[in-house]
């Protein structure tokens, strides 16, 4: 165990890289989630079906296969070159985005139809109703789910190590290969735990706060 001590700094750096790629992917997921989520709750049935296909596809295919597809497949299609970092960010964003669409959709649908009708009676249009009436209520459902998605992204980013992106898990494996001990993986596990458990406790508090603040 003491052989891992000189490498603690490297492992913490790996954890920061994991945190960085997960945060970036979370931001992109949020963008996808809000845009596609609005489409998924709209009246345009073709667009709704397209959103459905995207969500079902992402949820039915392993994250690893999605990462492989983006890293090896997409460059062939578009004749471009993606670094492991770029490929992993794209794949994780699409992955988190699909779950975020569901979080946004269920948030919007948790707001009753009467709210829409009341807003209509006050002659508010779609966007103003969405922004001032629906969104503030939908966030009670969406925010706790978004924190859950952040945790999935933190854990999922470990899969990016397979295409050669050196984040926390890959750092631990590289150290293991030089000192032949289980301890770097153990330390990596502790670091993952601290990040994810902290977030899930935070998520629990957010949820509880919104529950009692509910109308």
């Amino acid at each position: 165990m003491e052989r891992v001590l000189p490498y603690l700094g490297l492992l913490v750096r790996g954890a920061l890289i994991t945190l960085e790629i997960s945060t970036l992917s979370l931001a992109c997921s949020l963008l996808i989630g809000v845009l596609v989520g609005l489409v998924a709750t709209s009246r345009a049935s073709a667009a709704r079906a397209a959103a459905r296909v995207y969500v079902e596809f992402v949820r039915s295919v392993p994250l690893l296969v999605q990462i492989f597809f983006v890293y090896y497949g997409l460059p062939l299609m578009f004749r471009l070159n993606l670094s492991p970092y770029q490929a992993a960010t794209i794949a994780l964003s699409l992955y988190g985005g699909a779950y975020m669409v569901e979080a946004v959709r269920s948030g919007i649908q948790s707001v009753g139809k009467l709210q829409w009708e009341a807003a209509r009676a006050l002659s508010l249009g779609y966007w103003r109703t969405m922004a001032h009436i629906v969104a503030p209520q939908a966030i009670r459902v969406t925010l706790p789910a978004a924190i859950g998605i952040f945790i999935s992204l933190l854990k999922g980013s470990s899969v990016a190590s397979i295409i050669g992106f050196v984040e926390l898990l890959q750092t631990a494996i590289n150290i293991r290969n030089s000192i032949f001990s289980l301890s770097p993986l153990f330390v990596a596990g502790v670091l993952y735990f601290l990040m994810c458990y902290g977030l899930s406790r935070f998520g629990g508090r957010v949820e509880a706060r919104f529950r009692y603040g509910a109308s």
Partner: protein, 224 residues
């Protein structure tokens, strides 16, 4: 330059792909079975009246739910060599996916147990049923009904998790796809078909679970 999508490829490699899909299903089935065993054990530990056991159960669930499954696949396959324990790649993957899935299943069972109201237990006792008979005939059937959709989702995520076993060279679908890709450079075709196979498997399972849920529990929906 060859075309982006080459259907002939899959005819040439059909036996490899079928074997890969079969291994994926076998690995998935074994991992799901293992996850139920670990899940039941985890729940029993967590629900135990002994403080130490309950703490250990809680620690198991929280630790496993907040760390990535890939860590356990590597840990069991490479890590334990230094301690003198070796597992085959297949066994490592089954154990890793099993302990990971078990943590989620323990929570699902716990949720179902709390959903079955205490009156049911009291009523069963009043009818003279011993605790284990009450569990087997009164509580478990109701718990299963509550837990069924969540358990179905968990089975699917374990099946999706089997793709990670490719990193330790278990010859499942994704591993085979990588091999075919490496030798033909047809990565686009290979991984599209790989994805579609998973999609079909998962969608078929989802439909099957919905059907079972409807047939077995449909008439009792919302009665707990």
């Amino acid at each position: 330059m060859t075309s982006l999508f080459d259907p002939g490829l899959f005819w040439r490699y059909r036996s490899v792909i079928v074997a890969g899909a079969a291994t994926t299903l076998l690995l998935g089935a074994c991992s799901v079975a293992a996850s139920f065993v670990f899940g039941l054990a985890g729940w029993l530990l967590k629900a135990s009246k002994l403080r130490a056991c309950a703490w250990a159960g809680g620690a198991y669930v929280e630790a496993l739910r907040n760390t990535p499954d890939l860590l356990y696949i590597y840990g069991l396959y490479f890590g334990l060599v230094t301690v003198g324990v070796t597992f085959s790649a297949f066994t490592s993957a089954v154990l890793a996916l099993g302990i990971q899935g078990g943590a989620y299943i323990a929570e699902i069972i716990r949720g179902a147990f709390t959903a079955v109201s205490n009156e049911q237990r009291v009523a069963a006792r009043a009818l003279g049923l011993k605790p284990w008979k009450s569990l087997a005939y009164v509580e478990l059937p109701q718990m299963l009904r509550v837990a069924f959709p969540a358990l179905g989702n968990q089975v699917i995520s374990t099946l999706l998790g089997t793709a990670l076993a490719s990193v330790i060279a278990v010859p499942e679908l994704t591993y085979q796809s990588q091999i075919i890709g490496d030798s033909t450079y047809q990565y686009f075709s290979v991984f599209s078909v790989d994805a579609v196979i998973y999609l079909v498997l998962v969608q078929a399972l989802t439909r099957l679970f919905h059907l079972i849920d409807h047939l077995w529990f449909g008439p009792w929906r919302g009665t707990v």
